[in-house]
């Protein structure tokens, strides 16, 4: 045992308080039906680590695994939706040195909290998924970078790692093969930007989380300058299931172009906020119903379907949408990380936008000019409007400044910061105009 390691953490995390398992398709959270969902014992009982053992002992070819992943239509669950199989094929096959595997559990985009439930309720499936990925991609070392604010869950995951290592699922020469994989938990400490994969890599290296300019991409220049594959927690956690049931079975769970299940984080004005794992393509109305509908018997006003970096939707836009990549795109927004923020008819969109623009202003890393300077500008103008000192031309100014940030920065935070401004003003312009004319909110009168 290494000195300083945690040994005393109880891995039997409590079961989730709120969500109703009925109506869900539990795949990445398949342990949730069990008494002690996070324990190794539970995971083994559910057939855990069998895929890893099979692949390693039978020496399954990496190309075959990648083919399965491609067939599964698994798309990156961190928000960008990039096909995972394709991403894996970018890793150099032959490389003289250490290759790295990184898992992005740095959820900090408002409304996003799905990966937290994976590491606290089903950590071993993530570990198995990463080990399979490491085997496939030839990675010797892996890191799971966990959001600093969910410290209790970090402890649970790190304890699970020690458990897995002790049981022979991590470490040297697994199952007597020559495949070795070391996996470590590392943490952020309060910086949204580290959810961006190259900022996350910088942070693993012990630096500020400032995104790198790409190219080079992590597949050629990642952690410590070595080839690195970065995926989201939910993506890795889907892998063991895909290999157990086949890529086609996973694809069949969803709709064309969006395979499998998706964990939706639902927050805001619903009766039962929480995570809901459902098949891709579920109608919005059904998903909202699972979360108990709009709270307090009120009416739906707006939804941010995938976190604030996706465009806000009016009730009208969203009501007939299906919850998958193409469905939301058709409806005028995008799936993002599946972080649904629901707003009822008492919500003032001007004040909500002020809070969101403060968030991006506060979280901009400060590296490149448009985002560093622009997010502060936008926040100050919106604040001025909320203070009753807005001018009608501010709305065009906000649009223009946001357009000048968007697409001109090193990373996507610039685009993310522009999206709420552009979409809020686009879809709720009368509310903004009212606020400017009257110096107070159309909704709450304050």
């Amino acid at each position: 045992m290494v000195t300083g390691a945690k040994t005393s953490v109880n891995t039997t995390a409590k079961k989730p308080v709120m969500t109703d398992l009925k109506g869900q398709t539990l795949l990445t959270l398949r342990s949730l039906n069990e008494e002690n969902p996070a324990s190794l014992e539970t995971y083994i009982k559910l057939g855990g680590y069998a895929q890893l053992k099979r692949i390693v002992t039978e020496k399954v070819k990496a190309t075959d695994i990648i083919t399965q992943i491609k067939t599964s239509n698994l798309r990156g669950r961190g928000g960008a939706g990039f096909p995972t199989g394709l991403k894996w094929s970018f890793m150099p096959r032959y490389y003289d040195g250490t290759k790295y595997l990184v898992c992005n559990t740095d959820e900090g985009e408002p409304g996003t909290f799905k990966d937290r439930d994976i590491i606290r309720y089903n950590p071993h499936q993530l570990i198995e998924g990463m080990a399979i990925a490491a085997y496939t991609l030839g990675a010797r070392v892996g890191y799971n970078y966990i959001h600093g604010e969910i410290w209790q869950d970090y402890d649970i995951f790190e304890a699970a790692l020690h458990e897995a290592k002790a049981a022979g699922y991590l470490g040297e020469n697994l199952f007597g093969s020559n495949f070795s994989f070391d996996l470590y938990a590392v943490h952020g400490y309060g910086a949204y930007i580290c959810g961006e994969e190259t900022a996350l890599i910088e942070s693993i290296e012990g630096k500020k989380g400032q995104p790198r300019f790409k190219p080079p991409f992590p597949a050629s220049y990642g952690v410590f300058g070595k080839p690195t594959n970065v995926n989201n927690t939910e993506s890795y956690t889907s892998i063991p299931w895909i290999l157990q049931h086949g890529g086609q079975a996973f694809a069949d769970l969803g709709v064309p172009n969006s395979g499998g299940t998706k964990l939706f984080s639902i927050s805001g004005h619903v009766e039962k906020p929480g995570n809901y794992e459902v098949k891709m393509g579920m109608p919005f109305a059904d998903l909202l119903a699972l979360a108990g509908g709009i709270w307090k018997g009120r009416q739906l006003k707006a939804v941010i379907p995938g976190g604030p970096s996706t465009a806000v939707m009016t009730a009208e836009m969203v009501q007939n949408a299906t919850m998958d990549y193409d469905g939301l795109s058709k409806a005028g927004s995008s799936l993002g990380a599946g972080s649904m923020i629901v707003m009822d008819d008492t919500t003032c969109m001007v004040k909500t936008l002020k809070r969101l623009s403060y968030f991006f202003y506060e979280e901009s890393c400060g590296q490149c000019t448009p985002c560093r300077e622009g997010t502060g500008w936008v926040y100050r103008v919106i604040s001025r409007i909320v203070d009753g000192k807005g001018k009608m031309e501010d709305l065009d100014l906000l649009t223009d400044v946001s357009n000048n940030i968007s697409g001109r920065t090193i990373c996507a935070l610039g685009d993310a910061a522009a999206t709420p401004v552009l979409s809020f003003i686009k879809h709720f312009r009368p509310e903004f105009e009212y606020y400017i004319t009257h110096g107070k909110s159309m909704v709450d009168g304050r």
Partner: protein
């Protein structure tokens, strides 16, 4: 001087990285030292820099970039409350007002008895439990109500 316990913990974190990449452990090292001392003084940062054999300014860059590190004293209990959209929609404002009234301090202020400090947090990645707060970075309390906040404060007293 870093304590023996801190050094043991930092050494454990160092095992996660290649031997010539000691800087990688700076995030954990600062967290460990802050947990022990309550906040990060200039001396603490210097000690971390020396232990990891990296420039002091590189440590300061990290300590000032991530907002869970405190470069000023924050009292015995730092209460970080999220006010971002999901929490705001579930009335975190009421929780903030209650806390401010009860403790008699605004954001970034420490109570005169040095016990509590109130901080406005950004999204903590647990919005399903909104509104929520974190005590001393590592203990989260979710589904807050005014009564629940009172109970938490009572326990900390």
């Amino acid at each position: 001087m870093l304590s023996k316990e801190s050094i043991e913990k930092i050494d454990y974190e160092l095992t996660k990285y290649p031997a010539d990449k000691r800087q990688a452990a700076v995030m954990s090292a600062l967290r460990i030292v802050q947990t022990e001392r309550g906040w990060l003084s200039k001396e603490s940062m210097t000690e971390v820099a020396e232990y990891l054999r990296i420039p002091e300014i590189a440590v300061m860059e990290v300590a000032t970039f991530y907002n869970m590190y405190d470069l000023e004293p924050v009292g015995k209990y730092k209460i970080s409350i999220c006010t971002n959209i999901s929490c705001m929609l579930r009335d975190s404002d009421a929780i903030v007002t209650h806390l401010q009234n009860k403790l008699g301090v605004g954001f970034n202020e420490v109570t005169p008895d040095g016990k509590f400090c109130l901080k406005e947090g950004e999204c903590m990645g647990a919005c399903g439990g909104a509104p929520l707060l974190i005590v001393n970075n590592h203990t989260m309390h979710e589904f807050l109500t005014v009564d629940k906040v009172d109970a938490i404060l009572e326990e900390l007293k």
